[in-house]
């Protein structure tokens, strides 16, 4: 095939990529639709499949123990289900903190540490540069194979100068390509929609190309899988490539390679870039978690058939197995297919190179160069002007440097190794991030010093067990290192450290580096005290769920700055336009007038920091802000709030104490009330017993007399009359008793005051007396009355008061001397406010010990006339109750055999 066709098609392909990226960026609306969906996201993750996959998988699969090529893909397939919470968490943390690379992520978590950012950047740089160099090798060798027509291509491989020239040109083209893609403008979030679209397109193209060659080999050259496998397996040396038995692959190697690829898919800088930094929505991970394994399945399904086909076709080893995918169509004269395959390899290589270099250049500029410039004061000195264009220049220079180093590495070392072995060396370097990353996500006690110790140890072991021996193998260093060990100590053999023989160098290096890395990380973390900012960041990372909503409220450090300073910083590092856009958006959302704003609160400071972090890295952003921001490690406000809390707790416990006291007193009151109720209950029982007893007595006599009358019809008239009289009087007694009980009920139910009227107590008393006059006469009782001539007004119920007077008078009648009864009644106003009614009799009097009792219920005194109890025992009780309702009193004065005087008093009514 002619060179010009290949060059033109390569350039057309690259231009197509530019066009895609350009269109997506130029038409943001339509472009967004194309880029902002889970399918494009999953396809962009396929940047994982590089020239290593495209050429190297077949190369590895065609060698003894070749089945290990699968480990690189099994790791991601296994870990994909865990993405749904691990990767999502990383994405959420990164978005909330404005993190744009794995170096930034680690540095930010461990207290925004600059040192840690530098270490991660250096490890990534030295780990990834070889990986980039093998892409150069793959592209230049595929170009070489394709441009040499016919059988000469084989010889061309040995033509070293041609090879190098090719690689250099390709490196230059890829550098320009990357600069155009990655640094056209500075985006604070490092989002490149156009780039993602181009990467997704490349993923489709490389899959298509690989499936095309797979189908060609399987169905074009052979008659399907069965035919191909049966022919291949007829050769014993081919049949052992895809098998564990009879090959050198053991469980040790297999397991470690899978672990390495699991870490690579998450932590490779380019994977981190597409999966986290370019991610538009964390929920896209859900679909990607099964779409991406599906992609890997499709791109791997023909690897073994192609390897078998290649081995059948070129049994002598005259063709490097890495080149089978290209050599097979060329051998069969399928030039167009070869061109498609070549472009597929080109797409696999370019996507990897572009993304890896962009990711690395972000790290180098944000975590290496800018911290250096800021610390030396170079940035501050040029106090005026926009620095964002300078940042882009730094970015561009770092891209050129990375490519240059990759090219040098390719020339010095890369050409001597297969694609897979160099790729795995890179994986082993990146795997060193695993302990600190897992610690960052799930272990709050992890400290910066622990992370530093772990990373440095892991990196050191990686250097001595992989990087140095690799250089020794190509002759840059003495071979003795490998055979005799470092400094001649056999325990320090790079491939058998401490005497541990391993079937595989990579597994050996991965084991020792990760073991010591993790050990140091945990050990040092447990024995160092984290700084305050480390604790804050640890909380923000591990508990991202809690903090997503609350944001700055939870921060331990309250920050404030002059608004002008913040504005200046943003202007200088993001450019005027971007900075102004950010500030106005903020002002709008918070309803603030920027013109009048003097101090920037913690929220604005945080916002500025996250945007600056996007542009220049977390550590640098923190450093820059520190120069303008006033920080109160524990602010007064917070101290107060803590004190408040303590105060609240004390108050609360006091309140509790009070409550319990109250409860105690309430309990006592309840007890007393209960006691009273019991008492009342007893009284009520007594009352009922007495009343029924009182009723029974007259009824018994009525019953007995009536029976006598009815049985003895011939009883003489006198006796009959006597009996009937007794029956009548006993009946009256019952009636009286019942009336009095009813009265008692009325009085006790206490319908007081509502029916009170102003009335003349003088008139009332005289009326009551008149109604009883007949009774006095009948019993021959002498009455002496002393009523005043004036009105004596009281407020009260006439019926009740009448009852009191009648009660007192009838008591006097009952208890006065039976022979010469004498009753004195006097009524007068004793003071301007008091009316007193005195009723005296000349009876036997009331013994002193009974004077209190007579006002209780059912206290009866024996009548002097009959010698029997004369009343119901309720009269005085009721009278007392009624007077109490009228705010009056009743009392008694008496001496034995000198009669008794009842004194009732009532308040006088004034108008």
């Amino acid at each position: 095939m002619s060179t010009s066709i290949i060059i033109i098609s390569s350039l057309v392909y690259l231009l197509l990529l530019f066009l895609i990226a350009y269109l997506v960026d130029a038409y943001p609306k339509k472009g967004k639709k194309l880029v902002d969906n889970p399918y494009t996201y999953a396809l962009s993750l396929a940047v994982y499949c590089t020239a290593w996959t495209f050429y190297g998988s077949v190369g590895k699969a065609a060698s003894p123990g070749g089945i290990t090529f699968l480990c690189t893909y099994i790791g991601p397939v296994l870990i994909a289900p865990l993405w749904i919470f691990i990767l999502k968490k990383i994405i959420r943390i990164s978005k909330s903190q404005g993190l744009t690379s794995i170096a930034d992520f680690i540095s930010s978590r461990y207290g925004k540490s600059t040192r840690l950012g530098v270490v991660v950047t250096l490890v990534s740089f030295f780990g990834i540069v070889p990986y980039i160099s093998i892409q150069l090798k793959a592209v230049s060798s595929s170009f070489g194979i394709l441009t040499n027509e016919g059988k000469e291509w084989n010889e061309a491989l040995n033509n070293a100068s041609f090879y190098d020239e090719n690689a250099f040109i390709i490196a230059v083209i890829l550098t320009i390509f990357t600069i155009f893609f990655g640094t056209r403008k500075l985006d604070p979030n490092e989002r490149h929609g156009g780039l993602v679209a181009a990467i997704a397109f490349e993923s489709i193209w490389k899959l298509f190309a690989f499936l095309a060659i797979g189908i060609f080999v399987t169905y074009g050259i052979y008659n399907g899988f069965g035919d191909l496998f049966s022919k291949a397996y007829a050769h014993p040396e081919i049949s052992s490539i895809f098998s564990f038995k009879e090959s050198e692959v053991d469980s040790w190697t297999w397991t470690w390679l899978i672990i390495l690829s699991m870490t690579a898919i998450l932590f490779l800088p380019r994977q981190f870039h597409v999966a986290v930094v370019e991610n538009k929505d964390a929920n896209y991970v859900d679909k990607a978690a099964w779409l991406f394994p599906l992609y890997l399945l499709l791109i791997n399904i023909f690897v073994v058939p192609i390897a078998c086909g290649g081995l059948l076709q070129f049994p002598g080893g005259e063709v490097e197995a890495d080149n089978f995918v290209l050599s097979l169509p060329l051998y069969y004269g399928k030039d167009i297919l070869a061109l498609i395959v070549y472009l597929g390899g080109l797409s696999a290589a370019t996507s990897m190179v572009v993304v890896a270099i962009i990711a690395l250049s972000i790290m180098i500029s944000n975590n290496l160069v800018i911290p250096l410039l800021i610390r030396t004061g170079i940035v501050q000195e040029q106090s005026s002007g926009d620095l964002s264009s300078r940042l882009i220049t730094i970015r561009r220079i770092s891209i050129i440097v990375i490519m240059l180093v990759a090219y040098i590495y390719f020339k010095a070392v890369g050409a001597g190794f297969s694609l897979v072995s160099i790729g795995l060396i890179s994986f082993a370097a990146i795997a060193q991030f695993m302990p600190v990353m897992l610690g960052a996500l799930y272990w709050k006690e992890a400290t910066e010093k622990g992370a530093m110790a772990g990373l440095l140890t892991g990196a050191f072991i990686w250097v001595v067990t992989l990087a140095i021996p690799t250089m020794a193998e190509v002759g840059l260093l003495s071979e003795n290192i490998i055979t005799e060990g470092y400094f001649g100590f056999s325990v320090l053999k790079p491939y058998a450290l401490f005497g541990m023989e391993s079937s595989d160098h990579i597994a050996h290096a991965a084991f020792w580096s990760l073991l010591l890395n993790t050990g140091m990380f945990i050990g040092v973390s447990l024995n160092t005290v984290p700084k305050q900012i480390e604790i804050t960041q640890a909380n923000l990372f591990v508990d991202i769920k809690k903090y997503t909503k609350k944001g700055s409220e939870y921060e331990l450090v309250k920050r404030e700055a002059q608004y002008r300073d913040i504005e200046n910083l943003l202007h200088r590092f993001l450019g005027k336009k971007t900075a102004q856009k950010i500030l106005t958006t903020y002002a709008k959302s918070e309803n603030i007038n920027l013109e009048k704003l003097k101090t920037a609160n913690a929220q604005l400071v945080n916002l500025a920091e996250s945007h600056l972090a996007g542009a220049i890295g977390t550590a640098s952003a923190k450093f820059l802000l520190a120069s303008v921001v006033k920080e109160d490690p524990i602010s007064l406000e917070e101290m107060l709030s803590i004190l408040d809390e303590t105060h609240e707790v004390i108050q609360y416990s006091k309140a509790l104490e009070k409550k319990s006291e109250e409860l105690l007193s309430t309990t006592q009151q309840l007890k007393a009330a209960n006691e009273q109720l019991k008492n009342f209950d007893r009284l009520k029982a007594d009352f009922i017993t007495t009343v029924t007893h009182e009723l029974r007595t007259p009824i018994t006599s009525i019953k007995a007399l009536s029976k006598i009358l009815s049985d003895n019809k011939d009883l003489d008239t006198d006796k009959r009359t006597e009996f009937l009289n007794i029956i009548v009087s006993e009946s009256e007694r019952i009636a009286r008793l019942i009336n009095q009980v009813l009265d008692l009920e009325k009085v006790q139910s206490g319908r007081t005051k509502s029916d009170f009227k102003v009335l003349d107590f003088n008139q009332l008393t005289q009326l009551a007396f008149k109604s009883l006059k007949a009774l006095f006469k009948e019993k021959n009782i002498e009455c002496i009355t002393a009523f005043p001539s004036t009105e004596l007004l009281v407020e009260g119920n006439a019926d009740r008061l009448t009852q009191v007077v009648v009660n007192l008078l009838s008591n006097a009648i009952k208890f006065c001397d039976p022979e010469e009864g004498k009753v004195k009644i006097s009524l007068q106003a004793e003071s301007p406010n008091l009316i007193v009614l005195k009723v005296s009799d000349n009876g036997a009097g009331i013994p002193l010990e009974k004077q209190q009792l007579i006002f209780e219920q059912f206290t009866q005194l024996n009548s002097q006339r009959t010698g029997k109890p004369a009343g119901s025992g309720l009269g005085l009780y009721i009278s007392q109750k009624i007077l109490k309702q009228h705010r009056g009193k009743i009392s008694v004065q008496s001496k034995k055999n000198q009669g008794a005087t009842f004194i009732a008093s009532l308040p006088l009514y004034h108008k």
Binding site: L70, I74, V77, L78, I79, A80, P81, L82, I84, F85, K88, R92, K95, S96, F225, G226, D227, F229, S230, Y233, S239, S240, F242, S243, F244, K245, E246, D250, S251, W254, T255, I258, D281, A282, N283, D286, K287, A289, W290, P293, L294, L297, I301, V304, K545, T548, K549
Partner: protein, 69 residues
């Protein structure tokens, strides 16, 4: 960015972790070593079929767990 309310339940996390562990066992020694080089299914090496089978299984299982509400 959407709120965390869209986050999966604990149950989903355990299912996904379980799937990961299951895959780890299925695609590792000693199970992968059960297939010799002369075992074929429809003329295709049994080991090849086995890998294909587990791989597709992982894809389907992940998709199903993710879709579950």
């Amino acid at each position: 960015m959407k709120e965390w309310s869209t986050l999966m339940s604990k149950n989903k996390i355990s299912r996904l972790t379980g799937l990961f562990l299951l895959g780890l066992v299925l695609l590792n020694f000693p199970l992968v070593n059960l297939f010799g080089k002369d075992q074929f299914i429809f003329g295709i090496p049994a080991l090849y079929i086995y890998f294909l089978f587990v791989w597709i299984g992982m894809i389907i299982a992940t998709a199903r767990i993710v879709r579950k509400k």
